[in-house]
Structure formats: C-alpha cells, structure tokens
C-alpha cells in the first residue's frame, strides 16, 4: 500500500518533539508546516515555497549528521521532485513533503536491503575501518551468523597494533564457538593474513574472517598495510566498518578507505544508540557501496541486515513508525479502530477494552518486535524478556474476571481480595500477579488521562511549545510508571501522537 502520509507527518511531528537534542521541539513536520503555511488551498508548490521547505529539510539533515555536501546534492534532487508538485486535496502540503523526502531518502540509501555473496570455499571476508569502530566485535558477530547457517568460520587476528586486540578476538571466537587463527601478538599482519588461507583449508574452515587494526584514513603507511592485507587474501567481500555516531568526516573517511583499500559493502555499528545516523547517507552517496549489516549492540547476536527504509525513518527522527503503521493498517479492521479509539477517548477505559486491544496488538506479531518499533522502545526493551507466553498469562487473568469486574476494576481493588483470590485460582496465576496487573493497569489509565488533558490544552495553543513540553513530560512519566527501562529524557512511548489530534477531529 502507499505510504500513509498523514500519519508520517503527524508521527514525525510528535516524535521529533520528544527527542533530546538542541532542536528538541522543532519537529521537521512542524517546521515544514510553517514553511508551507502559505500553500494551503493553492494548487501547486511554487518555487518560493519549495525554497523555504528545502531549507528546513537541509537543516534537519545536517542535524542528523548528513555531510553538508551530500545534503546539497540531496536537496537539489528533491527540488526537482517538489517543484510543480500538485498539492493533493487529501493531504496537507507538509505531509506530502515529508512523504517525498522519506521516499527519496530510502532510494538514496539503496532501496532494498542486500546481503553480500559469501559463497566460495573458503570465502574470505576482510574488515577494515577507523579505530574503535567495531571491527573485532563485528568479526565475532559475522562468525556467529555464518556458523548458524552451517558454515565453519575461522577468525584471523591481523590487529597486531592495539594492546590485547588478539586476545579480544580469541575471546570472541570462543564465545561464538569458532576457530581462530592468531599465531602472533605482534609483527607483520600481512603474513598472518596470507597464511590464514592455508590454515583454513587444513582445519576445514570454509569462511575466513580477517580482523584488522583500526587505522586513520590519513595514515598512508597503515592504509598501505591494509591494501597489502587485502591483496594477500583477495577477499570475497571487504567490509568497511563505520560507527553510526560519526559526523561530517564520514565522507572523507569512507572515500579514503574506498580509494586506498577498497571495499564492497559497509557495516554500520552502534545503531543501538540514539544517533540519527546521517552518516549512512553520506557513506552511501560518496562510495556507492551498499550498507549490508547493522550492528545493534555489544552482544554477539546483536547483528542484523540493514534496512534502508528503517534508516530513513531514523534519519528523519521517526523511529520505525512507518513500518509499524503499515503493519497496523494491514492488521486492524475499521471497526476495531473505531472501538479502540472510542474506548481510549471516553476516559473510561476498562480491562475489557484493554483485552481487546492486546489481542489486536498480538495479531501484529511478537509483542517485543512490535513495541520495539516505537522510537526509543527498542533500546528500552533490549533486555526485558517480553515473551508472548506471558501475554497469555495476562489474558488468562482477565478472562477469569466476570464481565462486571472487567468493566469496573474498582470492584477488585477496594475490598476485592476474595475476588482477586478467585481470579488467581481461576487463571492459574498467583494473587501477586493479579495485583500487579491491576496496579499497572491503573497507572497506565491515570497517566493516559493526564496526557489526554494536556493534549487538549495543547490544541488550544497553536504555538504549542508549552503543551508539547508537558506532553513529552507526561509520556516520560508514563514510561517511568511502567518501569520500562527507557532513557531519561528521550524516546519513550512516542508522546501519544494521536491524542493531541483528537479534539480537532470532533468538528
């Protein structure tokens, strides 16, 4: 289906609002609203409007660390898309622009996710990059992933520079249970690389992963060494490892590695952080090499295929909301949507409503995955064991309540000890669990109420700065009350995007 652009805009509007950055509340969409305010009711985007819009987009991309030269190119391509664009009746102009920016960004990031071809016996993978970018960790992760696919990887220790680097690789190899070739702690890494191929054949390994020392792209001697290592092993794939937090120099660094060493693909690391990761666009634009993997944590399993669409969301500060929304639209029926909305707005949210909604969410896929798509939540949920089995427990508890109790949970709280014991027995859960559920539900409900109130306040105040601040605060409060191990000032539950819109829709 087409991108639901109204949602895109609203979402970015609200989600950007709770980002903790100097631009805290300057959501892209809001800024676009200002830039495009004159357009409302006009047929086409004129030059002047497009200029104003593009300058906002330019700033948003710069804030996301996209290199300024890359921004320039990107923005001029966008201009071609936007000038003369018909403003659709259904959407407001800023929504339409955000949609166009997003689409262009996805395209620029490669469109589809790709995986490198690692067939061959032995297939050889070489990792290269700046100091501390995550090569040694990625080596272990790649080995783990390939092992899972039935390959027999061997890690090769060619970082003879950093103290204890060899030992670090050995430990990673041990953690994921693969061979390691680490004959020396110092000396010539080119020789180690060369010998590793014969060693792999001897030991029956069919994938060789060469870890190299971190090096500066302006260090001609070490860049030469990396080139020599590459020549010695003739890799099936040379992967350039780069930290997602990197700033404007991403272009020079990646260009130098491309020219002086050469590579076929990119691994973007530390995406578990909250950097917007505009460097992804920079690297892609100047090297024209695909980003193939995303490293999302320090554990050996925190390694994924790279998804351009998610990265575009992220650069625009939208989390995985686009994916999430599309998923929801595919899953929910219209009636369900109406009912849920009714329930949430009525101010009288019951356990019955909650049960229904939980089941809707369940249909969208594993809960942890779905929740993880909310900006900030992925990280928050990282080590929380959200097992859908546990969801079933919650369901069981609610099913064991009478309809009356579900509609009026107060029956259970004040002097409802007997009822709670009955429910516990009926559902096969403990009384403590029943108590906790009620308490959590109560907290969620009360915070929902205050958020709803503040959202109302905000809608009366079109500038909305104060309201947004309050709203962001409320969202944080909600997060804390849920004991979600989130991040102090940012991310969170998305600031209840819809609630703020609600009063307007009543007309």
């Amino acid at each position: 289906m087409a991108l639901p652009s109204v949602t895109v805009s609203v979402v970015s509007h609200h989600l950007l609002a709770i980002q903790r950055s100097p631009s805290v509340f300057d959501a892209l969409a809001q800024r676009l609203d200002d830039a495009l305010s004159r357009v409302r009711g006009r047929g086409r985007l004129d030059d002047e409007t497009v200029d104003a819009t593009l300058s906002e987009i330019r700033l948003a991309l710069l804030e996301a660390d996209v290199n300024f030269k890359v921004v320039r190119g990107f923005v001029s391509r966008l201009r071609e898309v936007l000038v003369g664009e018909e403003v659709s009746k259904a959407l407001n102009p800023s929504q339409q622009v955000v949609k166009a920016v997003h689409a262009e960004l996805v395209r620029a990031l490669g469109g589809e996710s790709v995986t490198p071809d690692l067939s061959g016996n032995p297939a050889v993978i070489m990792l290269a990059g700046l100091q501390g970018s995550g090569k040694t960790t990625a080596a272990g992760k790649l080995a783990k992933q390939l092992k899972k696919k039935g390959r027999t990887p061997m890690l090769v220790a060619c970082d003879l520079q950093r103290p204890a680097a060899v030992q670090q690789l050995r430990i990673n190899a041990e953690k994921v249970g693969v061979h390691v070739y680490a004959p020396v702690e110092s000396g010539d890494p080119v020789a180690v690389a060369r010998d590793s191929l014969a060693k792999a054949r001897d030991t029956g390994c069919d994938v060789v992963i060469v870890d190299t020392a971190g090096r500066l792209h302006i260090d001609t001697e070490l860049m030469g060494q990396a080139r020599d290592i590459r020549a010695a092993v003739d890799p099936t794939a040379t992967l350039f490892v780069i930290d997602a937090m990197i700033g404007q120099e991403a272009v020079n660094v990646s260009k130098a590695f491309l020219d002086d060493v050469g590579f076929d693909g990119v691994i973007l690391t530390k995406l578990d952080g909250d950097a917007r990761g505009g460097a992804a666009l920079s690297v892609r634009e100047v090297t024209d090499r695909p980003i193939v993997y995303a490293s999302v944590g320090e554990k050996m399993e925190d390694f994924e295929a790279f998804h351009p669409d998610r990265m575009a969301d992220r650069i625009l500060g939208m989390g995985d909301m686009m994916t999430l929304i599309e998923k929801a639209e595919d899953t929910f029926t219209e009636q369900e949507t109406k009912d849920a909305e009714q329930a949430l707005l009525s101010g009288d949210f019951t356990l019955e409503d909650f049960l229904k909604q939980m089941q809707m969410v369940k249909r969208m896929g594993p809960l942890k995955g779905v929740l993880g798509m909310l900006p900030g939540m992925g990280q928050a949920l990282k080590d929380v064991d959200v097992d859908d089995k546990q969801l079933a427990h919650v369901e069981a508890i609610i099913y064991s309540m009478t309809l009356e109790e579900r509609r009026d949970p107060r029956l259970l709280t004040k002097g409802g000890a007997r009822r709670r014991r009955r429910i516990a027995a009926g559902s096969g859960r403990s009384v403590q669990e029943v108590n906790r559920l009620l308490k959590q539900f109560d907290q969620a409900k009360s915070v929902m109420k205050s958020v709803s109130k503040m959202a109302g306040m905000d809608s009366m105040n079109p500038q909305g700065r104060k309201g947004k601040r309050a709203q962001a605060k409320a969202a944080q409060q909600l997060m804390r009350s849920g004991q979600v191990p989130g991040q102090g000032g940012q991310g969170g539950l998305g600031g209840f995007p819809g609630l703020q819109q609600a009063p307007k829709r009543k007309k």
Binding site: V6, L374, V384, Q390, Q440, V447, G494, G498
Partner: protein, 376 residues
C-alpha cells in the same frame, strides 16, 4: 479509514499495552536486576589480582613538566599545534579567503558551512555566526581580517574556562580519576597515556580495570600498566565493576599510591541500566574516597551531533568534570566540543593525538580554534 485514526489507535494502544504488560514483566518476570543485561559473561571469581609494577618502564624521555606547577601536568602544546596544522579544513579555503571579496551573504553562508563541516552543529553554528554578524555590523567591520578576528574571539570565548588542569586530592589520600564514555572512544588508551605521565613525574599510580565487560579489556589495561609501571587491579570478566573500582581504592591506600585511575566499560548513554551501573561504580568508591577529583568523559573527535546527547547523559549520571577529546590526529575537527561547552559548560581538558604513549596533550583553545579555519 482516516489515517489519523490509525495513528491515534496505534500510539495509544501500544502505549497502554506496553505499560501494563512490560511493567508487569519487569517486576513479575523474575528478572534479576540491572546486571544481567549485557553478554553471557561468566560470573567471575572475586579474587583480586594485583600485578606488580612492570619492568618495562616508559621508553620515552621524561617530559619536562615544570615540577613546581603540578596542576599543569603536560607541556605538549607545541605537539598539539603541530598535529592540528597538518589537517586542512574541509572546504580547503580559509575564512580570510571566504571574506576576501567583502562581507557578503555568500561569505556568511560559507562560514556557516565551514563550522558545520567541523561538526559544530546547526544550532551552535547559527548562533555563533549571528553573533559575529551582529558584532561586525555594530563595530563596522568590513575587512576579512576583522571578521576572522571577531570569529576567533567568539569561539575562544565559547571555549573559555579559568582552569583546565586535572584536579588532585587536597588531603593525603590518593587522587581519584575516572574515565567514562561510549564504546571505543579511547578511554583505556587515555588512561595508559595518563599513567605514563604520572609515573614519569614520580607519582605512583594504580589502575583499576572496571571494564569487566568487553573481551580482553583488562588485558588491554594490563599491557598499559606494564608499559608505564603502574599497578593493575583487575578481576575476571563479568565481575562487578564497582567492586573492582573499590578494590582499586583499597590497593591505592594499601600501597600509599598517589593516584587511582578507574577505567570503565564503554556504554551507550541511552542504556539506563548501564548508566546506573556507572553511577554505582562512582558511589561505591566515593563512600571511601570522598568525591572523585576528576570524572572525565572521553569523546571521539569524529563524533557528530550525538556527542551532545552523550555529554548530557554522562553529566546526569556521574557529574562529569571535563572532556578528553581523542583522535584529533585524524581529519575530524571535534567541533562538537564547542556545542558541548556552550550547552553544558563542560571544558575540554585533554586531547588525544594518536595511539602512542606520548600522544596526549593539554587542550589549547587557541590552537583548536585556529585549526578550524586555517588551511595548511
């Protein structure tokens, strides 16, 4: 179906489900708190290994730091300048060239790009350029030289602090410094360099390997201990980092050391449990030692705008006292520290200029500002 409704629904439904269900699991799921979070690291034994000072002492000639001025531990300003001058600014033009054709809108725009390309950030750049523009107008400056002078002045004042020296204990007890930061920025290396300087100046140093998480992290610090003659306190991978730091303090007391430096595991600032863990390391040591003398945040000069969020979170968690800006030997300018100091008032105290034992220098704001604008 109206799309706004979908949005309303998803946001709210997920929020409610998240709070109720996740909250429930957090408390009820029998999750052990905080420290199960990272890898499968084996719970290590608790015996403390205290390495004897290595025989392989510093190879470099002793630095001539004036002994009567202990608050100024380094005299490497020249090297700092020298290294910085090597890198051209990205535009390949100087501010003087930009304004060569007069003070025009284009020139101001070029200046903006120059600052942004140095990772100073949009907000800080706009502000700085606006201020300089206003001053140029007010003071009637129309020459390139004048603009350059105003700009440097503006930046220097943004980076001004009365004192960049590393604080030391005022009593007889050991000085305590702790290094923190996100992954891979150069904490351990900086500690090695600091230890080298301190030992060279005749102070005895204990290094506590409170990074018990990353593979071979303690080995890495151990090699630096060997190189510098510092004493190492370590435990097995997976041990409680606070207890390592604590043992470090006890060892420093027992051996009558002058300085304890605590190395910590790299952690992303958006991981609340890990930030809490760091807070605990600090608290546990401070219970015995009193307030730490320095809590340094190590920032990689290649870092973009995320550096600001990093600094904010580390300040919140452990009251950072200063910044070490590493990897300035690369081509990145490290302009994010301008924003960090403007927003948070955190001064840069040291800079890292390479992987070698001597590649640490005091921060020199003049050289730093020059490096932003002067093409080689």
């Amino acid at each position: 179906m109206e799309l706004t409704e979908t949005l309303l629904l998803i946001g709210s439904v997920l929020a409610v489900v998240a709070v109720v269900v996740v909250g429930l699991f957090r408390r009820g799921g029998g999750q052990p708190p905080a420290d199960h979070d990272r890898d499968v690291a084996p719970r290590g034994g608790t015996d403390t290994l205290t390495r004897e000072p290595g025989t392989d002492t510093a190879t470099a000639p002793p630095e001539t730091a004036a002994p009567e001025a202990p608050p100024e531990p380094l005299t490497l300003r020249d090297r700092f300048r020298e290294r910085l001058v090597r890198t051209r600014n990205v535009l390949g033009v100087s501010v003087a060239e930009l304004f060569g054709g007069g003070v025009s809108d284009d020139a101001w725009e070029g200046l903006e790009e120059l600052l942004i390309s140095a990772d100073v950030g949009v907000a800080a750049t706009m502000q700085i350029v606006e201020d300089v523009r206003r001053r140029a107008r007010d003071e009637g400056v129309t020459e390139a030289d004048g603009v350059v002078a105003l700009l440097k002045d503006e930046l220097r004042s943004a980076l001004e602090v009365p004192d960049r020296s590393l604080a030391r204990a005022t009593d007889d007890e050991p000085t305590v410094w702790m290094l923190t930061g996100v992954n891979g920025t150069g904490k351990t290396t900086t500690i090695g360099k600091l230890a080298a300087i301190e030992e060279r100046e005749g102070r005895s140093v204990v290094l506590a390997a409170a990074d018990t998480f990353r593979a071979a992290a303690a080995d890495q610090l151990g090699l630096w201990a060997d190189r510098t003659g510092a004493r190492l306190v370590r435990k097995d991978e997976g041990a409680d980092p606070a207890s390592v730091a604590f043992d470090g303090w006890m060892a420093a007391i027992a051996t009558d050391a002058d300085l304890l430096v605590v190395d910590t595991a790299g952690r992303l600032h958006n991981r609340r449990e890990l930030m809490d863990e760091l807070g605990k390391v600090k608290r546990v040591v401070e219970k015995k030692s009193g307030p730490m003398d320095e809590v340094l945040l190590v920032l990689d000069a290649t870092t973009g705008q995320n550096g600001l969020a990093q600094a904010g979170a580390f300040v919140d968690a452990v009251d950072v006292t200063g910044i070490v800006l590493t990897k300035l030997d690369g081509s990145s300018k490290g302009g994010i520290v301008v924003a960090v100091q403007r927003e948070l008032g955190l001064p840069v105290k040291l800079v890292g200029l390479g992987e070698g034992i001597d590649d640490l220098a005091p921060f020199d704001p003049d050289a730093f500002v020059d490096s932003l604008f002067e093409p080689a």
